[in-house]
């Protein structure tokens, strides 16, 4: 039948990350990023584990200066992975302000 093919193996369950993050509720604290980077450490870092290990892809190379990292902290799921995976302590991660940040409905 036309139009009901689930695609190769995926049964139509494949979604881009942006689509997934769209289903997460956040209380965005526009004035207070809860993540900062140690610029010198991150500039010299060659592995950049944070850029692939973050499940919300918070850490991306800056479009203006690929030597720098841009932090999309608004998407942070507060899972803690970057803090324990960064081998150089380049990430300064603090709890968002009270009531701010991710707000799961199911969890």
């Amino acid at each position: 039948m036309e139009g009901v093919s689930p695609g190769p193996g995926g049964h139509g369950t494949s979604l881009p990350l942006e689509e997934k993050l769209y289903r997460v509720r956040y209380e965005v604290d526009a004035d207070h990023p809860h993540i900062r980077l140690n610029e010198t450490v991150c500039r010299e870092c060659s592995e950049r584990v944070c850029t692939f290990i973050c499940p919300a892809r918070v850490y991306v190379p800056s479009p203006e200066d690929p030597g720098r990292l841009k932090v999309n902290y608004e998407n942070c799921l507060e899972c803690g992975t970057c803090r324990v995976a960064c081998p150089r302590e380049g990430i300064v991660w603090e709890y968002p302000n009270g009531g701010m940040g991710v707000r799961y409905r199911f969890g």
Partner: protein
């Protein structure tokens, strides 16, 4: 001015299973207890799969009718998946289908923790949500240095006789406190797993058909094999009332080395025909992730100091064997921390020596016994990728080959299947790997 201080008997940092159970016990005993939670509501930052409820049942015997539970787990399975084949061992018991349902539930923590917090408030504890504890407050120097309260971000300090840290796996305040008080870390550095989950909405009838369930009953499926590309970990499917959770837990260090993103791993898992079929036609409701401590017994630090107790994930109290038990142990540790505080109050002594009763009781409880018994689980983790390469692919291939139909004599088919099973298998190493893998049961 000491007289102007806002002081309570006990402050609990974090309204998760550990903190709420501690507060529940303390408030029932008549102590003035304040729970400080950084989320807008309890559970709003929390993620989990199954909840083992044996400790909860002791504290709140009628939770089965009161709590927001999705489904009791009446069927479990362990599945092995290769790229082009699969095998599943499914099991269950009549006993699992009636109360206490083998103490195994599918819950959604944002809803469950919120309910538990309300229960705890009804016992007289105060819940301050939307408040971040930045650090602890100390008095004295050297060995007599003690915790006297908490520093709340953008607010007045709050004082107490004792602070129970139950802030979860991120453990930022606990880390600061351990440094400040010179508390002994675990013998080994803590290691973590990352859990990533998607919740897919589906009608309950469809879920019950697909998972072979009677109405209201639930399934927990664990999966290992090719989608996890040699990482230490595996996937799961759990049934909610009108939703299915799909996800995985893998060791963070193995993921970091692999350079695979959790998103790609999730897509690869769902793309396997044996997994995607359970979600087909559904709608994504939520995406979530969290770390969990997996370092086990050797990574558990000192848990007490003057006026301080550390509980739950912040204390590394997770059984990282195949059971992956966390919330139940957190609840137990919270209860025992409360017991120690109750005893300390009777003698008016909140010193480390007095607080040590908590560690002692924890050591004697099933919680730390299980974690200690599982302390060699890292041996299994080391050989996990090699064993997983063996089990799913070869074993399922042996079975599918055995049942291969045609017009050749069955004996020659079987001989060929066994040859294929053993072919290229380094026998000595495989035997050694399997021997070490036995540690996975903890």
């Amino acid at each position: 001015m000491e007289e102007d201080r806002v002081k309570v008997d006990a402050i609990v940092v974090g309204a998760g299973p550990a903190g709420l159970m501690a507060a529940h016990r303390l408030a029932k005993e008549g102590l003035g207890v304040v729970v400080v939670e950084r989320g807008q509501y309890a559970g709003s930052k929390n993620v989990s799969g199954l909840l083992y409820s044996s400790v909860l049942r002791d504290a709140i015997p009628d939770f089965e009718i009161k709590a927001p539970l999705e489904r009791p787990v009446t069927r479990r399975s362990i599945g092995f998946i290769g790229e082009d084949l699969f095998g599943v061992v499914e099991f269950g018991a009549q006993q699992w289908r009636e109360s206490p349902y083998n103490h195994t539930w599918v819950v959604y923590r944002a809803q469950f923790d919120r309910w538990l917090a309300q229960e705890v408030e009804e016992t007289g504890a105060s819940l301050l949500d939307g408040m971040v504890v930045e650090d602890l407050l100390y008095e004295g120097e050297g060995p007599s240095k003690r915790v006297v309260g908490v520093m709340v971000r953008g607010d007045e300090p709050l004082y107490s006789d004792v602070v129970i840290l139950a802030e979860g796996a991120l453990g930022i305040v606990s880390g600061k406190a351990m440094k400040e008080l010179g508390m002994r870390p675990g013998r080994k550095a803590q290691t973590f797993g990352i859990g990533v989950k998607e919740i897919w909405g589906l009608p309950s009838g469809v879920i019950e058909d697909r998972f072979h369930l009677e109405p209201g009953e639930g399934a927990a499926m664990e999966w290992v094999g090719s989608p996890f590309r040699g990482l230490v970990g595996g996937g799961f499917l759990y049934t909610g009332k009108e939703s299915v959770s799909v996800g995985f837990i893998v060791k963070v260090d193995s993921l970091a080395r692999s350079k695979i993103s959790p998103h790609d791993l999730m897509e690869g898992f769902k793309a396997h025909p044996e997994i995607g079929r359970y979600l087909r036609g559904g709608e994504l409701l939520e995406y979530s992730a969290h770390i969990l401590p997996e370092g086990g017994y050797d990574a558990v630090p000192e848990l007490c100091h003057n006026g301080l107790l550390i509980t739950g994930d912040a204390a590394g109290l997770v059984n990282a064997s195949m059971y992956h038990e966390g919330a139940n142990l957190a609840m137990k540790s919270g209860q025992l921390a409360a017991e120690a505080v109750i005893q300390a109050r009777l003698i008016g002594d909140y010193s480390k020596r007095s607080m040590m009763l908590y560690e002692q009781m924890l050591r004697e409880s099933f919680g730390l016994v299980d974690i200690r018994n599982a302390r060699k689980v890292s041996e299994a983790h080391e050989v996990f990728p090699r064993v997983m390469d063996l089990l799913p692919v070869r074993f399922c291939r042996l079975l599918t080959d055995f049942y291969c139909q045609g017009q050749r004599p069955k004996r020659s088919i079987r001989r060929e299947a066994i040859g294929r099973f053993l072919g290229g298998l380094p026998k000595f190493r495989t035997a050694r790997d399997l021997w070490r893998f036995r540690r996975i049961v903890g």
